[in-house]
Homo-oligomer: 175 residues x 2
DNA sequence: CGTCTCCTTGAGTTAACTCAACGTACGTGG
DNA sequence: CCACGTACGTTGAGTTAACTCAAGGAGACG
Protein backbone atom coordinates (compact mmCIF):
# COMPACT_ATOMS: atom_id res chain seq x y z
CA UNK A 1 0.00 0.00 0.00
CA UNK A 2 2.22 2.79 -1.22
CA UNK A 3 5.76 3.81 -0.51
CA UNK A 4 6.97 4.09 3.04
CA UNK A 5 9.99 6.09 4.09
CA UNK A 6 11.77 4.35 6.93
CA UNK A 7 14.25 6.94 8.10
CA UNK A 8 15.83 10.20 7.13
CA UNK A 9 19.57 10.55 7.20
CA UNK A 10 21.41 13.79 7.63
CA UNK A 11 24.98 14.90 7.33
CA UNK A 12 27.40 12.52 8.95
CA UNK A 13 25.11 9.53 9.10
CA UNK A 14 26.27 6.13 7.92
CA UNK A 15 23.20 4.90 6.15
CA UNK A 16 24.46 1.62 4.84
CA UNK A 17 26.19 -0.12 7.69
CA UNK A 18 23.70 -2.93 7.31
CA UNK A 19 25.31 -4.21 4.15
CA UNK A 20 28.45 -4.93 6.10
CA UNK A 21 27.02 -8.02 7.75
CA UNK A 22 23.77 -8.84 6.03
CA UNK A 23 23.86 -10.29 2.56
CA UNK A 24 20.62 -8.78 1.29
CA UNK A 25 19.39 -5.22 1.54
CA UNK A 26 15.74 -5.24 2.56
CA UNK A 27 15.24 -1.61 1.62
CA UNK A 28 16.72 1.01 -0.66
CA UNK A 29 18.20 4.46 -0.36
CA UNK A 30 17.43 7.60 -2.25
CA UNK A 31 18.69 11.15 -2.04
CA UNK A 32 16.22 13.90 -1.17
CA UNK A 33 18.74 16.72 -1.21
CA UNK A 34 22.16 17.47 -2.61
CA UNK A 35 24.41 14.76 -1.31
CA UNK A 36 27.99 13.68 -1.33
CA UNK A 37 28.47 9.97 -1.26
CA UNK A 38 31.54 8.15 -0.04
CA UNK A 39 31.84 4.43 -0.46
CA UNK A 40 34.24 1.98 1.12
CA UNK A 41 35.14 -1.57 0.38
CA UNK A 42 33.83 -3.93 3.03
CA UNK A 43 37.24 -5.54 3.18
CA UNK A 44 38.85 -2.18 3.95
CA UNK A 45 36.39 -1.48 6.75
CA UNK A 46 36.79 -4.92 8.23
CA UNK A 47 40.56 -4.66 8.29
CA UNK A 48 40.26 -1.19 9.82
CA UNK A 49 38.05 -2.66 12.52
CA UNK A 50 40.63 -5.32 13.16
CA UNK A 51 43.36 -2.75 13.65
CA UNK A 52 41.24 -0.33 15.66
CA UNK A 53 38.45 -2.21 17.46
CA UNK A 54 37.22 0.92 19.22
CA UNK A 55 36.05 2.24 15.87
CA UNK A 56 33.93 -0.85 15.53
CA UNK A 57 32.34 -0.12 18.87
CA UNK A 58 31.59 3.44 17.76
CA UNK A 59 29.96 2.16 14.58
CA UNK A 60 28.01 -0.34 16.61
CA UNK A 61 26.84 2.45 18.86
CA UNK A 62 25.69 4.31 15.76
CA UNK A 63 23.65 1.27 14.79
CA UNK A 64 22.05 1.24 18.22
CA UNK A 65 21.00 4.87 17.87
CA UNK A 66 19.55 4.14 14.45
CA UNK A 67 17.51 1.38 16.04
CA UNK A 68 16.32 3.83 18.71
CA UNK A 69 15.16 6.18 15.98
CA UNK A 70 13.29 3.34 14.33
CA UNK A 71 11.58 2.59 17.62
CA UNK A 72 10.56 6.19 17.87
CA UNK A 73 9.05 5.99 14.39
CA UNK A 74 6.99 3.04 15.53
CA UNK A 75 5.48 4.90 18.46
CA UNK A 76 5.07 8.06 16.42
CA UNK A 77 3.13 6.32 13.67
CA UNK A 78 1.31 4.05 16.09
CA UNK A 79 -1.25 5.61 18.32
CA UNK A 80 -0.92 9.32 17.68
CA UNK A 81 -3.12 11.80 15.81
CA UNK A 82 -2.11 13.35 12.51
CA UNK A 83 -1.02 16.65 14.07
CA UNK A 84 1.01 14.86 16.72
CA UNK A 85 2.78 12.74 14.12
CA UNK A 86 3.79 15.68 11.99
CA UNK A 87 4.81 17.72 15.02
CA UNK A 88 6.86 14.82 16.29
CA UNK A 89 8.65 14.47 12.98
CA UNK A 90 9.42 18.17 13.04
CA UNK A 91 10.82 17.89 16.57
CA UNK A 92 13.00 14.97 15.64
CA UNK A 93 14.40 16.58 12.53
CA UNK A 94 15.09 19.83 14.31
CA UNK A 95 16.82 18.14 17.21
CA UNK A 96 18.93 15.94 14.98
CA UNK A 97 19.88 18.96 12.89
CA UNK A 98 20.88 20.78 16.06
CA UNK A 99 23.07 17.90 17.16
CA UNK A 100 25.05 18.01 13.94
CA UNK A 101 25.09 21.80 13.88
CA UNK A 102 22.73 22.29 10.93
CA UNK A 103 20.43 24.69 12.76
CA UNK A 104 20.57 28.44 12.18
CA UNK A 105 18.36 30.50 14.43
CA UNK A 106 15.18 28.52 14.81
CA UNK A 107 15.24 26.86 11.42
CA UNK A 108 16.77 23.78 9.87
CA UNK A 109 16.68 21.99 6.50
CA UNK A 110 13.63 19.88 5.72
CA UNK A 111 13.89 18.77 2.09
CA UNK A 112 10.53 17.00 2.03
CA UNK A 113 7.36 17.70 0.11
CA UNK A 114 4.10 17.17 1.94
CA UNK A 115 3.61 14.00 -0.04
CA UNK A 116 6.91 12.70 1.30
CA UNK A 117 6.10 13.75 4.85
CA UNK A 118 3.00 11.64 4.48
CA UNK A 119 5.12 8.69 3.41
CA UNK A 120 7.23 9.10 6.52
CA UNK A 121 4.45 9.36 9.06
CA UNK A 122 1.90 7.17 7.28
CA UNK A 123 -0.71 9.77 6.37
CA UNK A 124 -2.32 10.94 3.15
CA UNK A 125 -1.20 14.21 1.62
CA UNK A 126 -4.49 15.91 2.45
CA UNK A 127 -4.16 15.06 6.11
CA UNK A 128 -0.55 16.19 6.19
CA UNK A 129 -1.57 19.47 4.64
CA UNK A 130 -4.24 20.09 7.25
CA UNK A 131 -1.89 19.11 10.04
CA UNK A 132 0.84 21.50 8.93
CA UNK A 133 -1.74 24.23 8.65
CA UNK A 134 -2.86 23.57 12.19
CA UNK A 135 0.70 23.82 13.43
CA UNK A 136 1.19 27.04 11.51
CA UNK A 137 -2.04 28.62 12.75
CA UNK A 138 -1.11 27.71 16.32
CA UNK A 139 2.29 29.32 15.80
CA UNK A 140 4.13 26.11 16.59
CA UNK A 141 6.12 25.63 13.40
CA UNK A 142 5.96 26.16 9.67
CA UNK A 143 7.71 24.96 6.54
CA UNK A 144 8.88 27.45 3.94
CA UNK A 145 11.23 26.77 1.07
CA UNK A 146 12.32 23.33 2.18
CA UNK A 147 13.23 24.64 5.62
CA UNK A 148 11.48 24.02 8.90
CA UNK A 149 10.94 27.11 11.03
CA UNK A 150 10.21 26.52 14.68
CA UNK A 151 8.01 29.28 16.05
CA UNK A 152 7.38 27.97 19.54
CA UNK A 153 9.41 24.98 20.58
CA UNK A 154 7.56 24.36 23.79
CA UNK A 155 4.15 24.23 22.21
CA UNK A 156 5.44 22.19 19.30
CA UNK A 157 7.02 19.53 21.47
CA UNK A 158 3.89 19.38 23.62
CA UNK A 159 1.76 18.74 20.54
CA UNK A 160 4.31 16.14 19.51
CA UNK A 161 4.71 14.36 22.81
CA UNK A 162 8.38 14.65 22.02
CA UNK A 163 10.86 13.00 24.39
CA UNK A 164 14.31 13.37 22.91
CA UNK A 165 16.03 10.84 25.15
CA UNK A 166 16.14 8.31 22.35
CA UNK A 167 18.51 10.38 20.27
CA UNK A 168 21.21 9.89 22.92
CA UNK A 169 22.84 13.13 22.00
CA UNK A 170 24.78 13.17 25.22
CA UNK A 171 27.95 11.62 23.89
CA UNK A 172 29.26 11.24 27.40
CA UNK A 173 26.65 8.53 27.75
CA UNK A 174 29.30 6.34 26.19
CA UNK A 175 30.71 3.86 28.64
CA UNK B 1 -1.79 7.71 23.42
CA UNK B 2 -1.66 4.34 25.09
CA UNK B 3 1.04 1.74 25.41
CA UNK B 4 2.99 0.67 22.36
CA UNK B 5 4.88 -2.58 22.10
CA UNK B 6 8.02 -2.09 20.06
CA UNK B 7 9.22 -5.61 19.51
CA UNK B 8 8.73 -9.15 20.65
CA UNK B 9 11.71 -11.20 21.68
CA UNK B 10 11.87 -14.94 21.55
CA UNK B 11 14.25 -17.57 22.81
CA UNK B 12 17.86 -16.71 22.16
CA UNK B 13 17.38 -13.01 21.58
CA UNK B 14 19.58 -10.47 23.30
CA UNK B 15 17.04 -7.81 24.19
CA UNK B 16 19.25 -5.41 26.06
CA UNK B 17 22.34 -4.89 23.96
CA UNK B 18 21.47 -1.23 23.83
CA UNK B 19 22.46 -0.62 27.41
CA UNK B 20 26.01 -1.59 26.51
CA UNK B 21 26.75 1.68 24.76
CA UNK B 22 23.89 4.05 25.50
CA UNK B 23 23.61 5.54 28.93
CA UNK B 24 19.84 5.80 29.06
CA UNK B 25 17.24 3.20 28.18
CA UNK B 26 14.50 4.84 26.13
CA UNK B 27 12.11 1.94 26.60
CA UNK B 28 11.45 -0.87 29.02
CA UNK B 29 11.17 -4.63 28.92
CA UNK B 30 8.49 -6.87 30.25
CA UNK B 31 7.97 -10.61 30.17
CA UNK B 32 4.90 -11.95 28.39
CA UNK B 33 5.67 -15.61 28.96
CA UNK B 34 7.76 -17.76 31.26
CA UNK B 35 11.29 -16.51 30.90
CA UNK B 36 14.76 -17.22 32.07
CA UNK B 37 16.91 -14.17 32.42
CA UNK B 38 20.67 -14.09 32.29
CA UNK B 39 22.53 -10.90 33.07
CA UNK B 40 26.13 -9.98 32.46
CA UNK B 41 28.32 -7.20 33.69
CA UNK B 42 29.11 -4.71 30.95
CA UNK B 43 32.75 -4.90 31.93
CA UNK B 44 32.74 -8.67 31.43
CA UNK B 45 31.20 -8.35 27.98
CA UNK B 46 33.58 -5.62 26.95
CA UNK B 47 36.61 -7.62 27.99
CA UNK B 48 35.19 -10.63 26.20
CA UNK B 49 34.84 -8.54 23.07
CA UNK B 50 38.42 -7.42 23.43
CA UNK B 51 39.63 -11.00 23.59
CA UNK B 52 37.34 -12.31 20.85
CA UNK B 53 36.43 -9.49 18.45
CA UNK B 54 34.47 -11.81 16.18
CA UNK B 55 31.88 -12.18 18.93
CA UNK B 56 31.45 -8.43 18.85
CA UNK B 57 30.79 -8.60 15.15
CA UNK B 58 28.18 -11.30 15.71
CA UNK B 59 26.45 -9.16 18.36
CA UNK B 60 26.60 -6.21 16.06
CA UNK B 61 25.00 -8.30 13.34
CA UNK B 62 22.25 -9.17 15.81
CA UNK B 63 21.67 -5.46 16.37
CA UNK B 64 21.37 -4.95 12.62
CA UNK B 65 18.71 -7.64 12.36
CA UNK B 66 16.82 -6.07 15.24
CA UNK B 67 16.88 -2.81 13.33
CA UNK B 68 15.55 -4.61 10.25
CA UNK B 69 12.67 -5.95 12.33
CA UNK B 70 11.93 -2.44 13.55
CA UNK B 71 11.84 -1.24 9.97
CA UNK B 72 9.38 -3.97 9.15
CA UNK B 73 7.18 -2.83 12.03
CA UNK B 74 7.17 0.65 10.55
CA UNK B 75 5.93 -0.52 7.18
CA UNK B 76 3.51 -2.96 8.78
CA UNK B 77 1.89 -0.31 10.93
CA UNK B 78 2.14 2.34 8.29
CA UNK B 79 -0.05 1.98 5.26
CA UNK B 80 -1.70 -1.38 5.70
CA UNK B 81 -5.23 -2.40 6.64
CA UNK B 82 -6.12 -3.98 9.97
CA UNK B 83 -6.28 -7.51 8.57
CA UNK B 84 -2.96 -7.08 6.78
CA UNK B 85 -1.27 -5.84 9.94
CA UNK B 86 -2.43 -8.73 12.05
CA UNK B 87 -1.64 -11.24 9.32
CA UNK B 88 1.81 -9.73 8.93
CA UNK B 89 2.48 -10.00 12.64
CA UNK B 90 1.42 -13.64 12.54
CA UNK B 91 3.76 -14.31 9.62
CA UNK B 92 6.67 -12.66 11.36
CA UNK B 93 6.17 -14.50 14.62
CA UNK B 94 5.76 -17.82 12.88
CA UNK B 95 8.85 -17.36 10.75
CA UNK B 96 10.98 -16.23 13.67
CA UNK B 97 9.75 -19.18 15.71
CA UNK B 98 10.66 -21.49 12.86
CA UNK B 99 14.17 -20.06 12.67
CA UNK B 100 14.80 -20.84 16.32
CA UNK B 101 13.05 -24.20 16.11
CA UNK B 102 9.98 -23.30 18.18
CA UNK B 103 7.48 -24.48 15.58
CA UNK B 104 5.71 -27.80 15.90
CA UNK B 105 3.56 -28.79 12.94
CA UNK B 106 1.94 -25.58 11.79
CA UNK B 107 1.75 -23.88 15.16
CA UNK B 108 4.01 -21.75 17.32
CA UNK B 109 3.77 -19.88 20.63
CA UNK B 110 1.98 -16.55 20.63
CA UNK B 111 1.62 -15.42 24.25
CA UNK B 112 -0.39 -12.29 23.43
CA UNK B 113 -3.93 -11.29 24.26
CA UNK B 114 -5.86 -9.43 21.59
CA UNK B 115 -5.35 -6.25 23.57
CA UNK B 116 -1.60 -6.76 23.37
CA UNK B 117 -1.72 -7.58 19.68
CA UNK B 118 -3.43 -4.23 19.26
CA UNK B 119 -0.61 -2.55 21.13
CA UNK B 120 1.89 -4.14 18.76
CA UNK B 121 0.21 -3.26 15.49
CA UNK B 122 -1.44 -0.02 16.59
CA UNK B 123 -5.09 -1.02 16.49
CA UNK B 124 -7.93 -1.04 18.98
CA UNK B 125 -8.98 -4.31 20.54
CA UNK B 126 -12.27 -4.33 18.65
CA UNK B 127 -10.51 -4.02 15.33
CA UNK B 128 -8.01 -6.71 16.25
CA UNK B 129 -10.85 -9.00 17.18
CA UNK B 130 -12.59 -8.51 13.86
CA UNK B 131 -9.34 -8.97 11.96
CA UNK B 132 -8.51 -12.26 13.68
CA UNK B 133 -12.03 -13.45 12.96
CA UNK B 134 -11.59 -12.62 9.31
CA UNK B 135 -8.37 -14.59 9.18
CA UNK B 136 -10.04 -17.51 10.92
CA UNK B 137 -13.09 -17.50 8.65
CA UNK B 138 -10.86 -17.42 5.60
CA UNK B 139 -8.90 -20.38 6.99
CA UNK B 140 -5.64 -18.45 7.01
CA UNK B 141 -4.70 -18.71 10.69
CA UNK B 142 -6.19 -18.82 14.14
CA UNK B 143 -5.09 -18.32 17.73
CA UNK B 144 -6.03 -20.87 20.37
CA UNK B 145 -4.61 -21.15 23.85
CA UNK B 146 -1.77 -18.70 23.37
CA UNK B 147 -0.62 -20.55 20.26
CA UNK B 148 -0.81 -19.43 16.65
CA UNK B 149 -2.07 -22.07 14.25
CA UNK B 150 -1.32 -21.48 10.60
CA UNK B 151 -4.03 -23.00 8.45
CA UNK B 152 -2.93 -21.83 5.02
CA UNK B 153 0.47 -20.22 4.86
CA UNK B 154 0.17 -19.05 1.30
CA UNK B 155 -3.09 -17.25 1.82
CA UNK B 156 -1.92 -15.81 5.11
CA UNK B 157 1.27 -14.37 3.70
CA UNK B 158 -0.63 -12.94 0.74
CA UNK B 159 -3.02 -11.16 3.09
CA UNK B 160 0.02 -9.96 5.01
CA UNK B 161 2.14 -8.85 2.11
CA UNK B 162 4.86 -10.75 3.92
CA UNK B 163 8.39 -10.63 2.53
CA UNK B 164 10.66 -12.44 4.96
CA UNK B 165 13.94 -11.16 3.51
CA UNK B 166 14.36 -8.78 6.39
CA UNK B 167 14.77 -11.55 8.93
CA UNK B 168 18.04 -12.55 7.26
CA UNK B 169 17.63 -16.10 8.38
CA UNK B 170 20.22 -17.27 5.91
CA UNK B 171 23.18 -17.24 8.24
CA UNK B 172 25.51 -17.79 5.32
CA UNK B 173 24.69 -14.22 4.38
CA UNK B 174 27.43 -13.39 6.83
CA UNK B 175 30.46 -12.04 5.08
C1' DC C 1 2.77 31.09 -22.61
C1' DG C 2 2.47 26.25 -21.30
C1' DT C 3 3.91 22.84 -18.17
C1' DC C 4 5.31 20.97 -14.03
C1' DT C 5 5.43 20.47 -9.10
C1' DC C 6 3.59 21.52 -5.06
C1' DC C 7 0.18 23.37 -1.86
C1' DT C 8 -4.66 24.04 -0.83
C1' DT C 9 -9.63 23.21 -0.39
C1' DG C 10 -14.18 20.86 -0.49
C1' DA C 11 -17.40 16.99 -0.49
C1' DG C 12 -18.40 12.33 0.13
C1' DT C 13 -16.88 7.76 1.89
C1' DT C 14 -14.97 4.51 4.86
C1' DA C 15 -12.11 2.20 8.05
C1' DA C 16 -11.12 2.24 12.52
C1' DC C 17 -12.32 4.03 17.13
C1' DT C 18 -15.14 4.45 21.37
C1' DC C 19 -18.25 2.85 24.48
C1' DA C 20 -21.11 -0.40 26.41
C1' DA C 21 -22.79 -4.84 27.05
C1' DC C 22 -22.63 -9.79 27.19
C1' DG C 23 -20.58 -14.71 27.14
C1' DT C 24 -17.27 -17.92 28.49
C1' DA C 25 -13.55 -20.02 30.77
C1' DC C 26 -10.94 -20.34 34.77
C1' DG C 27 -9.48 -19.97 39.39
C1' DT C 28 -10.42 -18.99 44.30
C1' DG C 29 -12.56 -18.96 48.62
C1' DG C 30 -16.55 -20.11 51.29
C1' DC D 1 -20.15 -27.89 45.26
C1' DC D 2 -21.40 -23.26 44.50
C1' DA D 3 -20.72 -18.12 44.34
C1' DC D 4 -17.89 -14.85 42.90
C1' DG D 5 -14.28 -12.22 40.55
C1' DT D 6 -11.31 -11.69 36.81
C1' DA D 7 -9.48 -11.92 32.25
C1' DC D 8 -10.46 -12.43 27.78
C1' DG D 9 -13.05 -12.76 23.57
C1' DT D 10 -17.20 -11.19 21.09
C1' DT D 11 -20.77 -8.15 19.32
C1' DG D 12 -23.50 -3.93 18.17
C1' DA D 13 -24.37 1.02 17.53
C1' DG D 14 -22.81 5.52 16.95
C1' DT D 15 -18.89 8.68 16.07
C1' DT D 16 -14.91 10.43 14.06
C1' DA D 17 -10.52 10.87 12.03
C1' DA D 18 -8.41 10.01 8.05
C1' DC D 19 -8.92 8.66 3.17
C1' DT D 20 -10.20 9.31 -1.73
C1' DC D 21 -11.18 11.97 -5.47
C1' DA D 22 -11.48 16.04 -7.89
C1' DA D 23 -10.54 20.70 -8.67
C1' DG D 24 -8.16 25.02 -8.34
C1' DG D 25 -4.15 28.31 -7.20
C1' DA D 26 0.83 29.75 -6.73
C1' DG D 27 5.33 29.61 -8.14
C1' DA D 28 9.41 28.04 -11.03
C1' DC D 29 11.18 27.28 -15.40
C1' DG D 30 11.94 26.70 -20.23
Amino acid sequence: GGRQYLSLHIAGDLPDLQSLFLGVMDHSLCALDKSQIASFRHSDILSLLKRAPSIGLAFWRHTLIDAAIFRQSITRNGTRSAVARVANLFCEQFTRARIVGAVSGWSCPLPLSQTQIGQVVGLSIATVNRATQTLRKEHCAEVRGRRLHVLNWRRLSEQAGFEPVYLHEDLSGRK
